[in-house]
Amino acid sequence: MGGFDFKVIVDNFSFLMSGLLTTFQLAIIAISGGLILGILLGMARLSSRPYVYYPATVFVNFLRSLPLILVIFWFYFLVPILAGRPLGDFLSASIAFIVFEATYFAEIIRAGIQSIPKGQMQAAYSTALNYRQMMGYVVVPQAMKNMIPSLLTQSVIIFQDTSLAYVIGLKEFLRSGSIVDSREVRSLEIYAFLGVVYFLICFTMSTLSKRWERKKGSLR
């Protein structure tokens, strides 16, 4: 069995850190792209126009029933076909993540807006505000306070999800750890290290978001 030997971590530290950097890059792209697309999808899910509502609903529900790994594979095959040539794994992973996570953001946004009581809407309409004014000045500002905790939680989940890009060989944090493992076979130290780093990052992010939530409190 041998003793713990963390030398393997120290020796390969910069390689592992470059993997972590890729993880952060992918996460940031997934979160920002997913949020933008998610807002559009969420609004579409609230629309009263059937030709907007039904396609959006089918799209969101379809993607949410699939495992992320499969979606990553699917875009990995699809993107080069559409582009006519291979475009690199970071790009197809980014697209897969943006599309996939957008559906989760969309549901958070839709639920947040629907949680505002109908009476607020009626009160705004009764003073002759139109739909856009009602949403912009009355509903969305209130919904934001409800949505932000869930949006932050989802961002932490996205950060963890980046590890799945492993399957297409993207050199993010997990993959770099696994490469070091296949070279040096100090699996215990390596995976323990990976676990601890992920834990510290995610635990910190979720603790910060809980603290923010407590500070801001709730309106009602």
């Binding site: 379809f62 029933s65 495992p67 790994i69 594979f73 095959f77 963890q160 590890s163 997990l174």
Partner: protein, 240 residues
């Protein structure tokens, strides 16, 4: 335009169709077995999260936080690659060589533990949503604590928790796909196996998508029926 020949028949040609069916069966087994363990563990940990007994509560909280803040894939790799190293070499070799489908059972362990931490959270929030007054009302009619839990708290909590637990059940099926990375022959693995043999990645992956879609629809309608049978009027708010 698109320099790609589609060949959808890979989905029903032999032997590929048989591979897919085997994969689907493995996915179902993996999902159900892991779910049973996850529920058991999750209920225990979740209940510990709400006991007034502080040490138990702290352990349960640490458990939940820990397993929720590390990606499932990392946990799986830990159980598959790293944990056996702690065992004496002879046990390790036995595990890898003699135990049939070691990777299947290791995945069950990883998936159960991960999911149990999420189930524990649902249990905790379900139990906390039952008001203190309910407890008071039950106790004031002379029921013992145990009777109160058995006849009032737990039945009520189960009905409240069915929607979020349904989501967890679906999630565990989706998470079985991670097992492909350690060589478990489940649906996603098989779809990529087909791709390796036929180079028809898009078709194979689409086929796997349809499988998961069908599984999801079946679980959702099954759970919907269960909810209707157990529904308490006014308790679970429904509506658009």
């Amino acid at each position: 335009m698109l320099a790609y020949e589609f060949r959808w028949s890979v989905l029903w040609e032999l032997p590929y169709a048989v591979w897919m069916l085997e994969g689907i069966w493995t996915t179902i087994r993996l999902g159900l077995i892991s779910w049973v363990f996850a529920l058991l563990l999750g209920i225990i940990v979740g209940t510990c999260r709400v006991t007034p007994y502080r040490p138990l509560r702290l352990i349960a909280t640490a458990y939940t936080e820990f397993f929720r803040d590390i990606p499932l894939l990392v946990q799986l790799f830990f159980w598959y690659f790293a944990a056996p190293r702690i065992l004496p070499t002879s046990v390790e070799l036995y595990l890898y060589r003699e135990v049939p489908q070691a990777e299947f059972w290791i995945t069950v362990i990883a998936l159960s533990i991960y999911t149990s931490s999420r189930v524990a959270e649902q249990i905790r929030s379900g139990m906390q949503s039952i008001s203190q007054d309910q407890f008071n009302a039950a106790l004031s009619t002379g029921l013992t604590h145990f009777q109160m839990y058995r006849y009032v708290t737990i039945p009520l909590a189960i009905r409240i928790m069915i929607p979020p637990l349904t989501t967890e059940f679906l999630t565990i099926f989706k998470n079985t796909s991670l097992a492909m990375t350690v060589g478990v022959l489940e649906t996603t693995f098989m779809s990529q196996q087909i791709e390796a043999y036929t180079f028809r990645g898009l078709e194979a992956t689409t086929g796997a998508c349809i499988v998961y879609l069908i599984i999801t629809m079946m679980v959702v309608s099954g759970m919907g029926l269960l909810e209707k049978k157990l529904a308490v009027p006014g308790l679970i708010a429904r509506g658009r």
